[in-house]
C-alpha cells in the first residue's frame, strides 16, 4: 500500500479582516498578526485514500496574547479536510496584531490548502502514522536583515516550498525580522524572500530530521517592486543612494502624483522658472542633464509647461537620478542623469487596469497576459489632455484665431517575456506629442513680428528592445537598442524652426564577476542621429548678452540641411569591495564626436565606506570624475556657430555622509564642487554677420545638500531638503565672474503626508527658494523697423528677484472594494495665493517695470479607479 505523505499546502495570509496596515490608509497604525508557529494538519484518511486535495477557508480569532481562541470554517472542503484544518489551526501561535504598538485581539481569514503528494519512504511499507512522522520533523528558522546594515526587516514575505513539488508556506517576518517553521518534513526547500523595495532572494535550504536550521538573509535595497530609487547611482556603483517609495511619489502635494515632478523636491534640484518643465541640477543648465527611459535617450520628459510627465507614475519601476559623479556608463553631459525604469507587467495571470481623470488630462492603463502568446505579458497606457476644451475659448476671447488648441498626449506599450529562467526580453513603443496652432491677430506691440500664425509642436516616439541575460553565474549581459523620431516644429510669422531627427541608440554592457569582491563592467554607448533641419530665425542672444532688439530688426539666418550626429562611446568600470562595507568604483569612458572629430577621455572614481554597520549606521562616500559635453549642434553649425569647437569639461568632486538617527529618520549631508572649463562662449565677428564661438568660458558650482528624512511607516512620510549653492560663469578670461542664470542660493523644501484613517490621507509641501536671477533693462532704444523699443541690458543676471515661497496641500480619500479601488484627490497648488515673482515686466520703453508673478492658487480634483 502506498503511503500518502502529507504536504502542507499553501497557506496564504491574505488580509486582516479588520484592517491591514499596508494598503489601507483607513487602518493606519494597525499591524496584522504574524504567524510564528505553524502546525501541519494530518491528512484526512478518507482524502488520502481517494487521493483528494482540498482548500479550506478559515476564520481565526486570535487573542491579544497571540493564541488562536476560535476557528470557524468559512468555506468548507469536506472529506475530513475541515476538521483537520481546524485542529491544526488551533495550535498555531501568532505574534498578536498591534494597534499603535499595543497587542490587540484580531480576526483573520486563513486559507489552508491540502495537496496530495506520494512519497517513497519507510512509511510506504510500514504505514507510519502521522504522529510518528512528526517526531522526525525539522525546524527552519531565520532572520531577514537589511543589506549590510544588519538591521531587522519587518514585514518581509518568506515563502518556503519543497523543491520536489507541492505548495509552500508563506510567512511574514515580525518586528525582529524573524520567522520560523517548526513542523517541516526533512528535505530540501526553496526559500523565497520578498520585501517591497528590496531585491528578492531565492535560496535552497536543506533541513534534517530533528534539527533546527537557522539562516540569516540580507536583502539589498534595490529597484524592485513599488520602491523607486530616486537619487544616487544604481547599486552597486553609487556614490549616493536614497529611495522613495511609490506611496511617496504619488502623494507629494503639488505634483498631482507625478513621479517625475517629484524629482524637483530633492536636494540639488532647483525650482524651474514659471511654466517651464525643466530639470536644473546642481547649478547646471537644463540641457546639461539627460533623460533616459529604460536606458534610451529621450528629448523631453514633461508635457506643456511641466503640467505632467510623459511616462505615468504607475508604469515606473525605478527612477535613478544622478545629480553628479555618475557612472562611466553615462556621458555627453556635465550636469546630471535621470533614468526612468519601466516596471514589468504583473505576472499573476490576471488583467489589471487603471483609469484616472482630473482637470488637465485623463489616462488609462492596463496590464496582463498577452492573448494567444504564451509567456508574454503586456503593460500599456495612454493619456490625453483636454486643456484645449477650456483654453480654446479663452484664447478666442482674447482675439486669437485658434486652429489647434493646446493639446498633448502620450502612449506606452511594453511586451515582456522570459525565454529562459536567466533571460528577459522586453519590446516597447512609447511616445509623446504636444501641439498648438493659433492665429494672433493683434500681435504684441513690443515685437509685432511675433504674431500671426503661431504653431508649436514637439513630439517623439521610441521603439526599443531590451535584452537581459545572466549568461553564467559570473557573466551578465544587458542591452538596449532603440530607434525613434523626435520633432520640434515652431513657427511664428515669417520665422520658423523645424527639426526632425531619427536617433538610433544602443547601450550594451557586460558585467563579469571574477571574484566575489570584484565586478567588471564594460560596454558601449552609441548615438547615431540623422537629422533634417529647416530654420529661419535670427540668432538669439545667449544668456547674459545684451538684447539685440526685436526680431523684426535682426537679420534672419537660414539653415536647411540634412546630416547626422555620430557619437559612439566605450566605457569600463570596476566595482571592488576591498573591505566589509567598502566599495571602490574606478571607471573610464572614451567618447568620440564625429562633428568636431574629437575624442574625450573621462576617468572617474567613486568610493563608499560604511564606517559603522550597526544601528545607528554611518556611511562615508565620495567621488571625483571628469565629465565632458559636446557642443550643442547649433554651436558647431557653419551658419549659426563655429565648426571645430571642442567639448565643455567639468570635474565633479563630491563628499558626504549618511547618518541614521533613528530607525525611521536618516540624515544625509553632501558637499559638491564642479569645476567648469572649456565652456562654449561667443563673440560677434569683427566685420559682418554671425558670431565666433570658442571654448574660453569657465566657472564653478559649489554647494551643500542636506536631507533629513522620515522614512515611510504605516502613517507618515516626509522630509526636509535644503540646498545651499553658488553657480558662476565667466564668458572669457579676464572678464568678471557672474552668477549663472540658474543659480539659486537657497532651496528649502519640506513635505509630509499623514494617513488619518478611514481612507483619508492629508499632505502638505512648503518651499522657500531664492528668487530667480534676471538681467535688468536699464533703459530702452527705439527700433525704427519694428516701431517698438529694445531693452538696454544691465549687468547680466545681476538682479535677484524676491524670494519664492509656496504652500501646496493634498487630500486623498480611497475606498477599497472587493475587486477594485476608487480614489479621489484634491491637490491645491499655492494655497495662500502667493504672487511669486517669475520675471520683470516693462512698459513700452523700458522706463517702468513691475513684477510678473507666477501661477495663482490652482485646485486640481482627480478621480481614479484601479482593478
Amino acid at each position: 500500500m502506498r503511503f500518502y505523505s502529507l504536504t502542507i499546502a499553501t497557506i496564504a495570509l491574505v488580509v486582516l479582516v479588520a484592517a491591514r496596515a499596508e494598503g489601507q490608509p483607513g487602518q493606519a497604525g494597525l499591524q496584522p498578526p504574524v504567524l510564528q508557529q505553524f502546525v501541519e494538519a494530518d491528512y484526512p484518511p478518507e482524502a488520502k485514500e481517494k487521493k483528494l486535495e482540498g482548500v479550506v477557508i478559515l476564520q481565526l480569532e486570535i487573542s491579544a496574547e497571540g493564541k488562536v481562541t476560535r476557528v470557524t470554517v468559512v468555506n468548507p472542503a469536506g472529506h475530513g479536510f475541515d476538521e483537520a484544518a481546524v485542529e491544526a489551526a488551533k495550535k498555531f501561535v501568532f505574534q498578536p496584531a498591534l494597534r499603535d504598538g499595543k497587542p490587540i485581539a484580531s480576526k483573520i481569514p486563513f486559507k489552508y490548502t491540502f495537496s496530495w503528494k506520494p512519497t517513497e519512504g519507510p512509511g510506504d511499507k510500514q504505514g507510519d502514522k502521522p504522529v510518528e512522522q512528526k517526531a522526525k520533523r525539522a525546524i527552519l528558522r531565520g532572520e531577514v536583515q537589511i543589506g549590510n546594515s544588519r538591521e531587522p526587516l519587518q514585514g518581509a514575505r518568506v515563502r518556503v516550498t519543497p523543491t520536489g513539488g507541492g505548495a509552500g508556506v508563506e510567512l511574514t517576518t515580525n518586528t525582529n525580522g524573524t520567522w520560523e517553521l517548526s513542523e517541516l518534513a526533512p528535505g530540501k526547500y526553496r526559500v523565497e524572500v520578498e520585501a517591497p523595495g528590496y531585491q528578492s532572494l531565492e535560496v535552497v535550504e536543506e533541513v534534517e530530521t530533528g534539527q533546527a536550521t537557522e539562516v540569516i538573509y540580507r536583502l539589498q535595497a534595490a529597484n524592485q517592486g513599488f520602491e523607486v530609487v530616486i537619487k544616487g547611482e544604481r547599486p552597486p556603483r553609487e556614490v549616493t543612494k536614497r529611495t522613495i517609495e511609490q506611496r511617496e511619489l504619488s502623494r507629494i502635494p503639488g505634483t498631482n502624483g507625478d513621479a517625475l515632478r517629484a524629482l524637483q523636491n530633492l536636494p540639488g534640484v532647483a525650482r524651474p522658472p514659471g511654466l517651464a518643465g525643466l530639470l536644473i541640477v546642481r547649478g547646471s543648465a537644463p540641457q546639461d542633464t539627460q533623460i533616459f527611459v529604460g536606458g534610451t535617450l529621450v528629448p523631453l520628459v514633461y508635457h506643456f509647461g511641466g503640467l505632467s510627465s510623459v511616462i505615468p507614475t504607475e508604469m515606473i519601476e525605478r527612477l535613478d537620478f544622478y545629480p553628479g559623479n555618475f557612472s562611466a556608463q553615462y556621458g555627453r553631459v556635465t550636469g546630471g542623469i535621470v533614468d526612468v525604469g519601466i516596471r514589468s507587467p504583473k505576472s499573476d495571470g490576471k488583467y489589471h487596469g487603471l483609469i484616472q481623470a482630473d482637470f488637465i488630462d485623463a489616462r488609462v492603463m492596463a496590464e496582463g497576459p498577452v492573448p494567444f502568446l504564451k509567456n508574454w505579458m503586456f503593460i500599456g497606457g495612454a493619456r490625453r489632455s483636454y486643456v484645449d476644451v477650456w483654453l480654446k475659448p479663452a484664447l478666442e476671447a482674447a482675439g486669437a484665431g485658434v486652429t489647434t488648441a493646446p493639446v498633448y498626449y502620450d502612449y506606452q506599450l511594453f511586451l515582456e517575456t522570459r525565454p529562459t529562467n536567466n533571460s528577459q526580453v522586453r519590446i516597447g513603443l512609447y511616445g509623446s506629442d504636444d501641439r498648438l496652432e493659433i492665429l494672433i491677430k493683434n500681435p504684441a506691440a513690443q515685437d509685432p513680428t511675433l504674431g500671426g500664425d503661431l504653431g508649436l509642436r514637439t513630439g517623439f516616439w521610441r521603439l526599443q528592445a531590451e535584452y537581459k541575460h545572466q549568461l553564467t553565474d559570473r557573466l551578465r549581459l544587458n542591452s538596449v537598442l532603440a530607434y525613434g523620431y523626435n520633432t520640434i516644429n515652431f513657427n511664428v510669422g515669417a520665422l520658423y524652426f523645424k527639426l526632425d531627427t531619427h536617433p538610433v541608440t544602443n547601450r550594451l554592457e557586460f558585467s563579469y564577476k571574477p571574484d566575489k569582491r570584484v565586478t567588471l563592467n564594460v560596454g558601449q554607448d552609441i548615438l547615431y542621429n540623422p537629422y533634417d533641419i529647416d530654420l529661419r530665425a535670427p540668432q538669439p542672444p545667449r544668456p547674459g548678452e545684451p538684447d539685440s532688439g526685436p526680431f523684426v530688426t535682426r537679420p534672419p539666418r537660414v539653415v536647411k540641411e540634412s546630416g547626422s550626429l555620430y557619437q559612439p562611446a566605450a566605457f569600463a568600470e570596476a566595482e571592488i569591495l576591498p573591505t566589509e562595507g567598502g566599495r571602490l568604483v574606478p571607471g573610464v569612458r572614451l567618447d568620440y564626436n564625429k562633428v568636431n572629430q574629437s575624442w574625450d577621455f573621462s576617468p572617474r572614481f567613486n568610493a563608499r565606506q560604511i564606517v559603522r554597520p550597526q544601528f545607528p549606521k554611518t556611511t562615508l562616500k565620495g567621488g571625483i570624475g571628469v565629465f565632458q559635453q559636446p557642443p550643442q549642434p547649433q554651436e558647431t553649425n557653419p551658419v549659426f556657430g563655429t565648426p571645430g569647437i571642442r567639448s565643455s569639461r567639468s570635474i565633479h568632486y563630491t563628499f558626504g555622509t549618511e547618518q541614521q538617527i533613528t530607525r525611521q529618520v536618516d540624515l544625509s549631508v553632501e558637499g559638491f564642487y564642479k569645476q567648469l572649463d572649456n565652456l562654449v562662449s561667443r563673440s560677434p565677428n569683427i566685420n559682418g554677420t554671425g558670431f565666433t564661438y570658442s571654448n574660453q568660458g569657465s566657472g564653478y558650482v559649489v554647494g551643500g545638500e542636506f536631507l533629513l528624512r522620515y522614512r515611510p511607516d504605516a502613517r507618515f512620510f516626509g522630509w526636509l531638503a535644503y540646498t545651499l549653492s553658488r553657480s558662476t560663469r565667466r564668458a572669457r578670461p579676464g572678464e568678471p565672474l557672474n552668477l549663472f542664470q540658474y543659480d539659486q542660493t537657497h532651496i528649502l523644501t519640506t513635505l509630509g503626508s499623514y494617513r488619518l484613517g478611514r481612507g483619508w490621507e492629508f499632505g502638505a509641501r512648503f518651499r522657500v527658494v531664492s528668487g530667480p536671477l534676471d538681467t535688468p533693462c536699464v533703459g530702452g532704444i527705439y527700433s525704427g523697423a519694428a516701431g517698438s523699443y529694445a531693452c538696454i541690458s544691465g549687468a547680466p543676471f545681476s538682479e535677484r528677484l524676491p524670494t519664492f515661497h509656496q504652500l501646496d496641500l493634498r487630500v486623498d480619500k480611497r475606498w477599497d472594494f472587493q475587486t477594485w479601488k476608487l480614489s479621489l484627490y484634491l491637490d491645491i497648488l499655492n494655497v495662500y495665493n502667493r504672487g511669486n515673482v517669475e520675471s520683470l515686466d516693462y512698459n513700452y520703453n523700458f522706463t517702468k517695470r513691475i513684477y510678473q508673478t507666477g501661477l495663482p492658487i490652482i485646485p486640481s480634483l482627480g478621480i481614479r479607479g484601479e482593478m
Binding site: G399, I440, G452, T458, V639
Partner: protein, 365 residues
C-alpha cells in the same frame, strides 16, 4: 538642437503679452518717435536712403502754463555704420561715439539747414545716407560663403541712429554696452532730461543687389466704416463734422461722460489698404513648405488723447496671407474731457523695413 523648453516660455509670452499694468504704448504722454521711413526700404548698394521721422512731443515740459507749445525738439541723425560686428546695432557704438565726439563736447544746435561737414551727421528733419557701392563685398568671404550655403542672397547692412530731444543733445559717457553715449539737456537749466523728453532710436537698412521692397500704401482711413478726412473744408463740411486744422473736414464727437474708460463709447478706425498694392513676397526668405512666404504687414496705432482698444493689428501674415478683410483695425474712445482736436496715428509697416503712415483727426467736444 534647440530644446522645447526654451520655446515654450516664448509661446506663452506671446500669448500673454497683451494687457498689463502700464499705460499702453499707444497713448502719447511724452516726446515720442512714432515711425521712421526710408523711401526705398531695401536701398541698393550705391543708392541713397532718404529718411524722415514721425514724432510727437506730448511731454508736459513741451507746454507752458497756458497750454501753449514752448519748444521745438532737436533732431540728430547719425550714419556711417556698415556691417557692424554680429550685425548688431550696438556694434556701431564705438564708431558712432568717435564720430560724434569729433564735433566737440557741446555741439549745440546748428542753424537750420546746415549740413554737417561729416556727411554722416545731421540735425535736419530728414536725412540722406549714401550706401557704399561695395557694402556687400565688404563682408568677409566666409560670410558670403555662408549666404551661398543658406541659399539666400547676400546683403549689406547699414545702421542709422537718430535722436529727438526736447532740449540739446550732448555726448555723455556710455553707461552700458548697448546704450548710445548721448544725453539730452535742458538748454536753460542744463538739467539732464529723461526718457519723457529724449528718444534715441536706430534703423537697419538692408541692401541687396537685386531685391527691392516698397513701402506700404494707405489709401485712406475709415472712421466708423466711412471714409474720413477726404473732404476739403472749402467744399463745406457735413453735419457731424467740422473743419480741422489741416483744412479738411473731421468728425465731431462728444467727450466721454462715463467714469470708467471701458464704459465709454468706442469708434472704429481702420486704415484702407488694398491687398494687391501691398503684399509682396519675402524674396530674401527661402521657400517654406514649398512656398515663398509673404512679407508680414501690420498696423500700429497711437493716440494723442483718448484710449485705443488695440495697439496693433495684423494685416498680412507670412503663411496665412491677407487677414485684414474683416478686421476692424482698432477702436478708439474719446477722453473724458473736452480735448479739442485729437489725433490717431496709423503706422503701417512690413517686416522688410517698409513703413508708411497716416492719421485721423477727431474733434472732441
Amino acid at each position: 538642437m534647440l530644446r522645447r523648453a526654451s520655446l515654450l516660455p516664448l509661446s506663452f509670452a506671446i500669448l500673454t503679452s497683451c494687457g498689463n499694468a502700464f499705460e499702453p504704448a499707444s497713448s502719447i504722454q511724452s516726446l515720442r518717435i512714432l515711425a521712421v521711413r526710408n523711401e526705398e526700404p531695401y536701398t541698393p548698394p550705391g543708392g541713397t536712403a532718404s529718411l524722415s521721422l514721425l514724432y510727437f512731443d506730448g511731454s508736459r515740459r513741451a507746454f507752458d502754463a497756458q497750454g501753449n507749445r514752448k519748444r521745438k525738439p532737436q533732431i540728430l541723425w547719425l550714419g556711417g555704420c556698415f556691417n557692424p560686428p554680429g550685425d548688431l546695432y550696438y556694434g556701431c557704438f564705438p564708431i558712432l561715439a568717435q564720430l560724434f565726439a569729433s564735433r566737440g563736447q557741446s555741439p549745440g544746435a546748428p542753424p537750420p539747414g546746415e549740413v554737417n561737414p561729416l556727411e554722416y551727421i545731421s540735425f535736419n528733419e530728414t536725412f540722406q545716407l549714401k550706401i557704399p557701392k561695395d557694402i556687400i563685398a565688404r563682408r568677409p568671404p566666409e560670410e558670403l560663403d555662408v549666404f551661398q550655403t543658406q541659399g539666400i542672397p547676400p546683403y549689406g547692412l547699414s545702421y542709422v541712429f537718430f535722436a529727438v530731444c526736447g532740449g540739446e543733445i550732448r555726448p555723455v559717457p556710455s553707461e552700458t554696452p548697448s546704450g548710445l553715449p548721448l544725453g539730452c539737456f535742458d538748454k536753460e537749466t542744463n538739467e539732464r532730461l529723461g526718457e519723457d523728453d529724449f528718444v534715441i532710436g536706430y534703423l537697419p537698412i538692408y541692401s541687396f543687389e537685386k531685391i527691392t521692397n516698397k513701402n506700404p500704401v494707405i489709401e485712406g482711413v475709415q472712421f466708423e466704416g466711412v471714409p474720413a478726412m477726404n473732404r476739403p473744408c472749402t467744399e463745406g463740411c457735413a453735419q457731424g463734422s467740422r473743419c480741422g486744422s489741416q483744412g479738411v473736414c473731421i468728425p465731431v464727437i462728444p467727450h466721454c461722460t462715463e467714469r470708467k474708460v471701458d464704459d465709454c463709447p468706442t469708434y472704429k478706425i481702420k486704415p484702407v489698404l488694398m491687398q494687391e498694392k501691398n503684399v509682396e513676397k519675402d524674396e530674401a526668405a527661402p521657400p517654406f513648405n514649398g512656398r515663398i512666404p509673404d512679407e508680414v504687414i501690420w498696423a500700429s496705432f497711437y493716440a494723442s488723447d483718448g484710449t485705443l482698444k488695440n495697439d496693433t493689428a495684423l494685416i498680412n501674415d507670412a503663411n496665412k496671407g491677407w487677414v485684414f478683410h474683416d478686421a476692424e483695425g482698432t477702436r478708439w474712445s474719446a477722453p473724458n474731457a473736452t480735448a479739442g482736436e485729437s489725433r490717431v496715428w496709423i503706422v503701417v509697416r512690413d517686416n522688410r523695413g517698409g513703413t508708411t503712415w497716416t492719421w485721423q483727426d477727431i474733434y472732441v467736444e
